[in-house]
Symmetry: C2
DNA sequence: GACAACATACCAACTGGTCGGTTTATTACT
DNA sequence: AGTAATAAACCGACCAGTTGGTATGTTGTC
């Protein structure tokens, strides 16, 4: 009983395909023609749902990447009062996922990819991306603050500084896997990150 | 007394302009047409000196970025036996440079930019870039090994792990400045990196 | 029938790259 | 030293293909 015209469905198909293409080739390296072909839709459909290539990119951030980041990296630390333990668990899980399917991580972090490519070139991208990063850091800073109060974190550390450093370092580590196109140095760097987290204990 | 035809000069002008354009717009985002225009040469000259766009990119890595990285990040740590002190000095100097001229750092690390964009797409880029990263990590690992022997570094740390983590974290931090297009979080993250370095003392 | 949801043909602008030709520098020979 | 031959350096028009984007038409749904 699926109707021939399913606008929401078409839109989602375009969005998802655009996300995958952008994750693989970057935004500038992805072409509208290829996206519509892979999505199995026509250019008319795409430009009916999105004003242009930039707007499509914006929608990919707002409607896919934002939720992804929240679900995988922010929510797990929400209301944490032992961020050292919870972050260790999180990144070890990520490393395990990377082992099972290296292809995803070897294309880099979708958010940071776009950040590095587009932030200096387009303000629309920059603000949308920075919104995610800011929420990310704020969540971790809160967790470390809670940790200090709960006695799970060395009280002399600055929650904001640790949060900023952790996010930067984590994105750098993921970038390492992409750069090398294998998990060797990535795995090593994760070890270093865990060592760092442990150094924050009281 | 400058000869009309100065091949070495022309080549360098193209190379330097290509470096700047790539640093600003990425490799795929830079166009041959714009490069020749900005360099004040013709397309014939460019394709006389370089086989194609990729070869030009390779030359930018081999002849500009490689030396840059060596001079600014590898040589200062060569034969260091107190890497904690020397690395702190190095990154504080970099932060000072960034304050004086934010525009350069806000375009990201030229090496890592190319790594993130091109490593998954082209093996020629990947190997050339990875060569620099490998040399970089090896130098720092050696310095930490020396530091352990000299008693300036906690002997329980793994030199290779620390080196890998430091390089990843540093590139992540530089990426933060590019992503945010300002130095606020960058500065914070550098604080975190320094705190981390101090935690490696005996 | 009205309007959203598509489809298709098409466009100017630009992409990396080529090619025939000209200019300059270097070499070889007298 | 003078000059002819050769090679390197450079020029700019041109190419086929692709880019993001549009205009117009058709189809389906309420």
């Amino acid at each position: 009983m699926t109707p021939v015209k399913a606008p929401e469905d078409t839109r989602n198909k375009i969005l998802q395909t655009a996300f995958e293409e952008i994750h693989k080739n970057g935004f500038q390296g992805s072409s509208i023609n290829q996206i519509v072909e892979k999505a199995g839709v026509t250019k008319g459909a795409l430009f009916h749902h999105f004003k242009g290539k930039n707007e499509l990119g914006y929608a990919v951030i707002d409607e896919i990447i934002y939720g992804m980041g929240k679900e995988e990296f922010i929510n797990p630390l929400k209301e944490s009062s032992d961020p050292i333990q919870d972050l260790k668990q999180l990144i070890l899980k990520k490393r395990e996922q990377a082992r099972e399917d290296p292809s995803f991580i070897c294309n880099g972090c979708p958010l940071n990819n776009l950040a590095q490519e587009m932030s200096p070139l387009d303000e629309g991208f920059r603000t949308r991306i920075e919104k995610v990063f800011t929420a990310w850091r704020a969540c971790y800073a809160k967790a470390f603050k809670n940790g200090i109060e709960a006695g799970t974190v060395d009280p002399t550390v600055s929650p904001e500084t640790v949060a900023a450093f952790f996010v930067s370092a984590f994105e750098g580590i993921v970038g390492t896997a992409k750069s090398a196109q294998n998990l060797e140095v990535f795995t090593r760097s994760v070890d270093g990150l865990i060592y760092y987290l442990d150094s924050l204990k009281p």
